[in-house]
């Protein structure tokens, strides 16, 4: 070769933070918008004299949050365990079923239309029913609803990932006399990973919704959903909002944890660095 090979410079590998996240400087615009939003909330509510039951000022909410932190965190932890349990059960079941369907394709064509249809159903509507199945106060009724909500998108996406392998990749593996198991292990599963993780990220949000809304239909006094519903019922709006803030923070942390796992699992991807 006469001309020297040219290639995109590899992104230098650095510390953990550099691998999984962006530089601090990239976050500045987003942080500014965030602070402006909070300021608009705080001063807008006061300046326009918005009624407390519509939207309390941010400072009141944060004050309540701080005063009541131990009770709220306890309730949040209780509900988070329900969401996490449902997420783990529903997602693993979704992945497992997708693996089976990808292996036996005629089965997939028989089942997939129903999975896609189920994916479009507002499954949260079943929450009162699962409360009856597992008992109103049992965390299992919330775990069940969260699991069912997570199951279908994870199943459909994982199956799509497992079957979206280029035919030439399969031909290559067959030229090495690879069997089905080896093709799954070395090609289908790595190809499916990005699909699986985007479904898992959606599933974290769905699991939180499932657990909290499940609580709304009745549940343990320790759960965050019940705390929010009760406080809103007795006009303790600061307190209800504090519960919502905690729920939001939890949801974001849950999502971020899975997104971090994704970046660690797929370091090969250019988007994991440039994005």
């Amino acid at each position: 070769m006469t001309a020297g090979p040219t290639a995109v410079q590899p992104v230098p590998r650095g510390v953990f933070a550099r691998r999984v996240g962006r530089g601090v400087r990239d976050w500045i615009p987003a942080a500014v918008v965030f602070l402006l939003g909070l300021a608009a909330w705080e001063f807008g509510v006061k300046a326009l004299d918005v009624e407390n039951f519509l939207l309390p000022p941010l400072s009141d909410i944060l004050e309540t949050l701080w005063d009541d932190r131990s009770g709220l965190i306890e309730a949040a932890w209780f509900t988070f365990k329900e969401a996490l349990g449902g997420f783990l059960v529903g997602s693993s079941a979704g992945i497992a079923v997708a693996l089976v369907l990808a292996r036996w394709r005629p089965l997939a064509s028989a089942v997939l239309p129903y999975a896609i249809a189920a994916n479009a159903i507002p499954i949260i509507a079943f929450a009162p029913i699962t409360n009856n199945w597992f008992g109103l106060l049992s965390p299992w009724s919330k775990i069940a609803i969260a699991a069912i909500i997570c199951f279908f998108p994870v199943l459909v996406n994982t199956l799509k990932g497992l079957t979206s392998v280029r035919p030439s990749s399969i031909e290559l593996m067959r030229s090495y006399a690879a069997g089905e198991v080896e093709i799954f292990r070395r090609v289908r599963i790595p190809t499916a990973l990005p699909f699986v993780f985007s479904a898992l990220k959606v599933a974290t949000v769905l699991a939180m919704i499932g657990a909290i809304v499940g609580d709304y239909f009745g549940g343990s006094q320790d759960s965050l959903g019940i705390v929010i519903r009760r406080d809103a019922g007795i006009f303790a709006f600061d307190h209800a909002w504090a519960g919502i803030v905690i729920a939001s923070l939890l949801g974001i942390m849950f999502y971020a944890a899975v997104a971090t796992l994704e970046r660690l699992a797929m370091r090969w991807q250019p988007s994991a660095r440039i994005e």
Binding site: V8, P10, S169, R186, P190, W268, P270
Partner: protein
């Protein structure tokens, strides 16, 4: 010794459907470089896949390396290179090259040793820890060739390997492929739609025509070995190119103008 032997090979897709190949007889000897050329739809890629046991013929006999095509595939008697490099994004360049070695159960040290050798062979030393997306198309294809050759198969099947590359890169890789062929002494079956590429690389050019796919001519390429960039400027090179082109054109009057343009793209 005959490396590939095809006898009365027919291939029909679907029940009573398209006849992709009809009555293919072809013997390919050791150390030969045979190109299959023809317009789209002539079944040249199908023929290559039949040799590789990736497609089964409807009838006829296929013998590769003295055994059935299936046995040859199971024994990993050939390496294959596609038009698309088919590198796995989640593996580094070195690990992509080592893929067949892993499957053959080579231990780590032996794999690393061989990968290093192969990287040197395709002149990509120092790129082992890169990921495929960091390489240009030409470099990716060289990785794919290194992977196909890493386990030292006696036969190399190539399906339009340089079809997606620009002319400059293609000519450079042509020279490089000849150097590798010379160094390793493997037998190569090469599918292309470029006349000049086929003539430049091959010891024999097999001309095919469509509907049904069949062999219409075989042209011996008597250009001296080893070939170099100057080979392309020899009068004999132009004669052979013209000869192959006439045979392509004469092979089937039904070949449309559009298909001829495709077939002549290389020149």
């Amino acid at each position: 010794m005959t490396v590939v032997s095809l006898e009365k090979v027919d291939k029909t897709f679907g029940k009573g459907g398209v006849t992709a190949l009809q009555g293919i007889d072809l013997d390919i000897g050791e150390r030969e470089f045979v190109s299959l050329i023809g317009p789209s739809g002539c079944g040249k890629s199908t023929l290559l896949r039949i040799v590789g046991d990736l497609i089964q013929p409807t009838s006829g006999e296929v013998v590769v390396n003295g055994k059935s095509a299936r046995r040859a595939r199971e024994d990993r008697d050939y390496g294959i290179v596609f038009q698309d490099a088919v590198l796995f994004d989640w593996r580094t360049v070195a690990k992509n090259i080592a893929l067949p070695l892993e499957m053959l159960g080579w231990d780590r040290n032996r794999r690393q040793e061989r990968v290093k050798e192969m990287l040197r062979l395709v002149e990509l030393d120092g790129f082992g820890s890169h990921h495929p997306w960091q390489l240009s198309g030409g470099m990716q294809q060289r990785v794919s060739i290194a992977r196909a050759l890493s386990f030292d198969p006696p036969l190399l099947l190539m399906d339009e390997p340089f079809g997606a590359l620009d002319e400059m890169t293609r000519e450079r890789l042509n020279l490089e492929l000849l150097r590798i062929w010379d160094a390793l002494g493997s037998t190569i079956v090469f599918v292309t739609h470029s006349i000049s590429e086929a003539v430049f690389l091959s010891t024999r050019v097999v001309v095919m025509s469509p509907r049904p796919g069949r062999i219409t001519d075989v042209v011996e390429i008597d250009l001296p070995q080893p070939r170099s960039a100057e080979t392309r400027e020899q009068p004999r090179f132009f004669e052979l190119v013209a000869d192959v082109r006439h045979k392509l054109r004469g092979s089937d009057e039904l070949v449309s103008e559009a298909e001829l343009i495709v077939a002549e793209e290389g020149l």
